[in-house]
Symmetry: C2
């Protein structure tokens, strides 16, 4: 691939105009949109308006002027990106807190089913939260097995199969329909963590027959740092499952001020405390960009970007750990190298921001809305230069940060 | 009290200059700062800077440039307002979610103690969450009794006494030291909900020997709508108690990406998911205003504002349900009236924003930093006029909103 070829792909790219709707810094190629998505330009004005007008001037009245419905409204905007109905998704809390709610709820559905099955090496908070959730249900336990042993771990005692759709490190994608069926065949529910899927790949929760899902607002959805997360409960489970974090915002009548809890109908019961209005506002602004986008075009561009960067990484001698079949991966690419940390730091020093993941993974987010083919080509050239020249061996690149 | 007398109090008020540090709307007297605090002017620039620079330009690097420490940093700013040490407080999630964490943790401390005691008519989410929390611990139960029966409800089976320090509706304040001692005498822990106390009255958690506390960032702390909440764990309990919502941000090594959960030392274990960075930023800006404020002056001004508005309400024939002893109340005042809802609506139509609380309470927040004595005098005059003239009987004031 030459730069000219990359520029030609940009010229023909139907999504190319989205890049200018995000704040771009001169000299920066940001390959970490799968960790924190870039800032949509429109979000600057939206946040200022929310702060100065809705909070500053309208004050408490704003709860009646849009805030109280924001969790459901934002959820409805996420729904088409994950193959759900508008009234099956709500924005709330963090991914971790939402996972806790759904795992406990699934465990309480049927006392005879006591086991949560998940994958070793799943995103840590999924396993950590599952540990906490099983402790909240008498007799429940967490069974964490290697991917190859998942199928045989499902059985008559399984309450829930808890999987992350696209692996945070290697970008491997589970076959959602296949694993949902496997869980159902065992009589269990399935919960999908869509943190690296929503806005990255085509997700079809309802077509796959999925039961539960959670996901993150601050990655491909560009909702801002620590944006509210979301949760999905298939309509057929909405009456049967209950939120263990039974706070007033999930009450059938939050402003009735009754002592006893009574769960709201539909998705509202999955709310707990007062939602982060600033966070919801920024997330809503980020989601507005997705209106009308053809996710097939997003997937096609992701694949094209992937091919360019895969070629560069391979040329640099890195071992790619992400599946080459686009249907079996997300929208990031990861390589293994003994000096992964130093190479990532050397790239950052050159203005190419990727991610290091312990112990030896270089991870690069290929976000179709914010990146051009030429961006990826240029980043790939730098990767090759840094590895081939040994530039990454400079001592300053070995200094560790708190967050990487 | 005459307007001249109120203006004279303003002229002598050492806190008077704070009023101009908040966005004030022409013609509005905002007596709802105990529901949603006003916008500090400095927060507009702080939020814009956070969005455009830290998110927009620095992107993921900002986690290493201040974001990762924000929960502890903000907690340390709250600590002096509640009589705690800097390393006993952390900002996280919502008040409801934090209540769940602490109630479950307290119940798990000693399996022989299975009962959470709380007050009927406590703020609903405290009771709702306690209902959810006892369901997460085998054999645990919630015992909700009238205030007069609390003392006898404490016993050898009590794990936790859960009280709201200043009542959300009537503003009655519990004697923190006395009730903490009563809980300890029974061998139980105490958890204080400080939502209507922090920034409103002098709170002395450590002097009272308190064990646990939670509170709200969006009321007197002016942190913005749905601001992150906080939690306090006395140092002597920090090793023994564990967060049931065991997410990655509370892990000893969040970026070690291990499968097994290992709790962080100190307050960090009370974090769960990725924190709301926008929310923390606005809260931090609101808290900066409190730096160096003498809380004795805050209490004195609260009492002076209270006297002015109490006189007006009484003149209007309303029944005051808030204790007259300043040491036994918070910084809001509540009246009972059969047409409470309509009177509140009539006041709002005149630009005086108070709160209605079901079924018959008018509630007015008297926030010492944002209000002048003359503001309160003028609002009192309007209250008298509205009641005496029967203005509140106009049909439009009977129309109910979703949030009141």
């Amino acid at each position: 691939m030459t730069l000219e070829a990359a520029l030609a792909l940009d010229a023909a790219d139907p999504l190319a105009h989205f890049r200018d709707r995000f704040v771009q810094s001169e000299g920066l190629i940001y390959l970490d949109g799968n960790s924190l998505g870039q800032l949509p330009k429109a979000t600057i004005a939206a946040t200022t308006e929310l702060v100065t007008k809705a909070w500053g001037e309208r004050l408490i009245r704003s709860w009646n002027e849009g805030w109280i419905d924001a969790p459901a409204r934002v959820g409805a905007m996420i729904a088409p990106l994950i193959g759900a109905e508008a009234d099956e998704v709500i924005a709330a809390d963090s991914t971790s807190v939402n996972l806790y709610k759904l795992i406990v709820a699934a465990l309480r559905r049927d006392p005879a089913r006591t086991v949560v099955v998940s994958e070793a090496g799943n995103f840590p908070t999924d396993l950590h939260i599952a540990e906490g959730a099983v402790a909240a249900v008498a007799g429940a336990e967490l069974r964490v097995v290697e991917r190859g042993a998942l199928a045989e771990a499902l059985g008559a005692d399984t309450a829930l199969l808890l999987l992350t759709h696209v692996h945070y490190k290697r970008a491997e994608r589970f076959d959602m329909a296949g694993w949902t069926k496997a869980a159902h065949d065992a009589g269990a529910l399935v919960c999908w963590d869509l943190s690296h899927s929503a806005g990255a790949v085509k997700v079809e929760l309802n077509a796959a027959g999925a039961d539960l899902a959670v996901g993150c607002g601050y990655k491909y959805l560009n909702g801002g740092p620590g944006a509210p997360a979301f949760l999905y409960v298939a309509k057929r489970w909405q009456d049967a499952l209950h939120n263990p974090l039974s706070g007033w915002m999930g009450h059938a009548e939050p402003f009735g001020f009754a002592d006893a809890y009574a769960a709201a109908a539909g998705m509202k019961r999955w709310l707990t405390g007062t939602p982060s209005v600033l966070g919801l506002g920024a997330l809503e602004s980020g989601l507005a960009l997705w209106d009308g986008i053809d996710t097939a075009q997003v997937a096609a561009k992701s694949a094209a970007l992937w091919n360019i960067f895969h070629a560069a990484g391979t040329a640099a001698g890195l071992e790619c750990v992400t599946p080459s079949d686009p249907a079996k991966r997300g929208s990031h690419i990861s390589f293994r190298h003994a000096h992964a940390y130093e190479i990532v730091q050397a790239l950052i020093a050159r203005g190419v921001i990727g991610d290091f993941r312990d112990p030896d993974i270089l991870r690069f987010g290929l976000t179709p809305l914010t990146l051009s083919h030429a961006d990826i080509w240029r980043a790939g050239e730098m990767l090759v230069e840094i590895v081939e020249s040994g530039e990454y061996r400079r001592p300053e690149f070995a200094v560790r940060n708190a967050v990487t």
